[in-house]
């Protein structure tokens, strides 16, 4: 499989304005972000920003070097798509007329999603999984009439190598 995207997992100091610094760098240097997810890590001093970039247009080496110049950036890992676990979360409100309601419920079951809200004429469903799976699910739901849809952008971590616990290394550097 050829990679269509790059994933950067960026550990940053959990300080005000860090996201603006990262986003500003991308816009200033003309790089495009395909998706972006930010959340604190298990250590509250740090956050992880997962950035997905289009493989064709992004000069990944230059982006990484420029990012690393930001004082609040602690560590950057490029996660190769084949060697990373990637997940994304989607919430979707879909029209559910009585005639189609059971089909949608069945579809959610097949995709191992969840129904998280039920209205008179609509359902809100949730699905977490590989981004490609979310794409398929979204396509299928579209046929029933999407009212609203929100995806998180992907988050990713390096696949564990059975012998070397990589997460340790991150902590070792910052702690």
């Amino acid at each position: 499989m050829t990679a269509t995207h790059h994933i950067l997992s960026v550990t940053v100091e959990n300080k005000p304005g860090v996201l603006a610094r990262v986003a500003g760098l991308f816009s200033r240097r003309g790089y495009n972000i395909a998706s972006l997810a930010v959340a604190p890590t298990d250590d509250e001093r740090f956050s992880r920003i997962t950035i997905v970039l289009d493989a064709e247009s992004a000069p990944i080496e230059q982006i990484t070097k420029q990012l690393f110049k930001l004082i609040h950036v602690i560590k950057i890992s490029e996660l190769e798509p084949g060697r990373a676990v990637e997940r994304e979360l989607m919430l979707a409100t879909v029209r559910a007329e009585p005639a189609s309601r059971s089909q949608i419920i069945e579809l959610v079951g097949v995709f191992e999603g969840k129904i998280i809200d039920v209205g008179a004429e609509a359902l809100t469903v949730m699905l977490a999984g590989q981004p490609a799976k979310l794409d398929d699910f979204e396509d299928l739901l579209r046929g029933y009439g999407l009212v609203e849809l929100q995806r998180t952008g992907r988050v990713a971590l390096a696949r564990l190598e059975r012998n070397t616990p990589r997460l340790r290394a991150v902590k070792g550097k910052v702690g």
Partner: protein, 582 residues
């Protein structure tokens, strides 16, 4: 010990050995100006905040110590944006302190509020909004550390008024905690060894020396490398003085207005050793045709520069001084001068270019207006070797770089990357403050002068005797040159008039001695008169020939093979082939 935030700020600056700062007070920064009265720090009151920033830069350029500028919030902070960007582009160490509205008012569009940290994020190496007075000593210490280490640059601290007023417990941090900031200083030994091998083998090498060599205080190390290897040197606009122009192996400035030999030697080189240089478009011309046969050794403290424009064969991340010293060692270990490839032919070719295409301009005694190049040569010859020269941006800047003889590091103060018109006057003032023992001249254009001349009031009031030579050609000269050459002589909005303003009266009104020169025979006597004056600034209005153009020139976007030399010099293709390019 309890201090106010403002007291802690000034004390922290003293702890960082700040001896002078440039600034202008206002509402939000007011608290910081009170403890300043009791401080050992000299404060220079500017007339415009942009001046404070450029003075801080000029000071930093000549001393190597970070320049400090302090201004208030809102419009004062935005007036500082240009010098911050200038310092960022030219890697000048600088610490800027801005006032901010009190914390409860932030985000409410309060009077003189602006998002200083947001606005300056893209033009600073780092910035911080200080939200707790207790953080002040730590953040000041970090700011100076970040500004002066690695690739130097400007750092800004934005201080809300109530943070300056609140109490804190004084401390001075004895260690820094910056987990995301660890510049690489030492070059990789394997890469150094490989570089030494390539240097030894190269038959047509050139050392491409950039501003990083000056920032790393590496001029001596560079000289040792040149003496050891016998490789010719080009010094970029940012590196003038890093290697003496008087040295046999100095080819001068490369680039768009570099001299023919420097440009052409790079084009024909089989090895470029880039030291603290960044392959700027003004040096490379069209990148795809730049130095096509050259292998590249690229040394820079900023890893992002390696491969940004041209992929190096040997990338070395590290401080230039440390890496050059390691290179000298590695070349010596490999056999030193004795094992360098035979470069007799290369040096002979270079000599032939130098003989054939020296810098030249028309007859200065042709009865017409003063030749600007002649004015610079006269100034150069009338001043001591270690005179500090500042310049603005445009034709006069290029002539200054071309015709001055820079034999010492830190004698050239100019705005390279950003190309900030108006840089010269305040930068010269900052330089003179940093090096009061030196003669400081600024060569300025009439367009540039009008942008920041008011700082001569500052210079007069503070008794900072800088000297300004205005090359008054009554035009925005560089734009005029482009319109003449590339827009069919259609001159659009470039005429400024030689008499409006009256530069002599204006300078006198600002407390300066002032002279006007319009005949060649008056040039030297007037310069000598100016050099005698040491109690106030001097301005000389040299009326120069507006039709003079800067040559050589590589037109924007053209290949460096197509350098246009001065009228009357036509580079023959036969000569260019001689260098043995395949």
């Amino acid at each position: 010990m309890k201090l106010t935030g403002a007291q802690a700020l000034i004390k922290s600056l003293e702890m960082e050995k700040v001896d002078v700062m440039f600034g202008l007070p206002g509402g939000c920064i007011l608290p910081a100006y009170d403890p300043l009265l009791d401080s050992t720090i000299r404060h220079i009151l500017v007339r415009h905040e942009q001046g404070a920033g450029h003075m801080a830069e000029g000071y930093a350029h000549v001393t190597g110590r970070p320049g400090v500028a302090m201004v208030t919030s809102g419009p004062a902070a935005t007036n500082l944006v240009t010098p911050l960007c200038d310092a960022y582009m030219d890697s000048v160490p600088m610490v800027a302190i801005t006032g901010q509205v009190s914390r409860p008012a932030i985000g409410t569009d309060a009077f003189q509020e602006c998002d200083t940290v947001g606005i300056t994020r893209a033009v600073t190496k780092h910035n911080e909004l200080v939200m707790d007075a207790q953080d002040i000593p730590r953040l000041v210490r970090e700011a100076f550390h970040i500004a002066t280490t690695g690739r130097p640059g400007p750092v800004l601290l934005d201080l809300p008024k109530d943070v300056l007023q609140e109490q804190m417990d004084w401390y001075w941090p004895d260690a820094l905690d910056l987990p995301g900031y660890r510049p690489t200083i030492k070059g990789h030994p394997k890469m150094i060894k490989e570089a030494a091998r390539l240097i030894g083998e190269a038959r047509r090498p050139v050392l491409y020396v950039g501003g990083g060599v000056l920032k790393a205080r590496a001029a001596e190390a560079l000289r040792a490398l040149v003496e050891l290897t016998g490789i010719p040197v080009v010094t970029t606009l940012m590196a003038r003085g890093a290697f003496p122009d008087s040295h046999d192996l100095c080819l001068g400035m490369p680039g768009m207005h570099g001299n023919f030999t420097a440009v052409t030697a790079m084009q024909h080189a089989d090895l470029l050793v880039a030291l603290g240089a960044r392959f700027d478009d003004r040096v490379t011309g069209r990148v795809s045709t730049f130095a096509p046969d050259a292998k590249i050794i690229h040394v820079d403290v900023d890893p992002a520069e390696l491969g940004k424009v041209r992929r190096p064969d040997v990338p070395i991340v590290g401080d230039c001084r440390s890496v050059i010293e390691e290179l000298v060692e590695a070349v010596t270990v490999a056999g030193g001068a004795a094992v360098q490839a035979d470069r007799t032919e290369w040096l002979a070719t270079i000599r032939s270019w130098q003989a054939e295409y020296p810098l030249s301009y028309g007859d200065p005694d042709d009865g017409g207006p003063l030749k600007p190049q002649m004015v610079i040569e006269s100034l150069r010859d009338a001043c001591p070797d270690d005179t500090i020269l500042a310049s603005g941006v445009g034709q006069h800047q290029m002539w200054a770089s071309q015709y001055w003889r820079f034999n010492h590091p830190y004698t050239w103060v100019n705005s390279g990357g950003l190309g900030t018109m108006g840089f010269a006057v305040p930068a010269a003032i900052g330089a003179k403050v940093g090096r009061p023992d030196r003669l400081v001249w600024a060569v300025d254009g009439d367009g540039c002068f009008q942008m920041t001349a008011q700082e001569l009031v500052t210079a007069s009031a503070e008794r900072i005797p800088v000297k300004i030579a205005i090359l008054n050609n009554a035009y925005l000269g560089m734009v005029r040159q482009w319109q003449e050459m590339f827009y069919g002589e259609r001159y659009s909005e470039v005429y400024l008039s030689p008499d409006l303003p009256d530069y002599v009266k204006w300078a006198e009104a600002m407390g300066c001695a002032a002279f006007r020169v319009d005949t060649p025979s008056d040039v030297v006597p007037t310069i000598e008169k100016a050099n005698q004056i040491d109690d106030r600034p001097v301005v000389i209005d040299f009326r120069t020939d507006s039709s003079e153009k800067v040559f050589p020139m590589v037109p924007a976007g053209a290949s460096n093979d197509d350098v246009l030399t001065a009228p009357g010099q036509t580079p023959g293709t036969a000569l260019r082939r001689q260098a043995g390019r395949s």
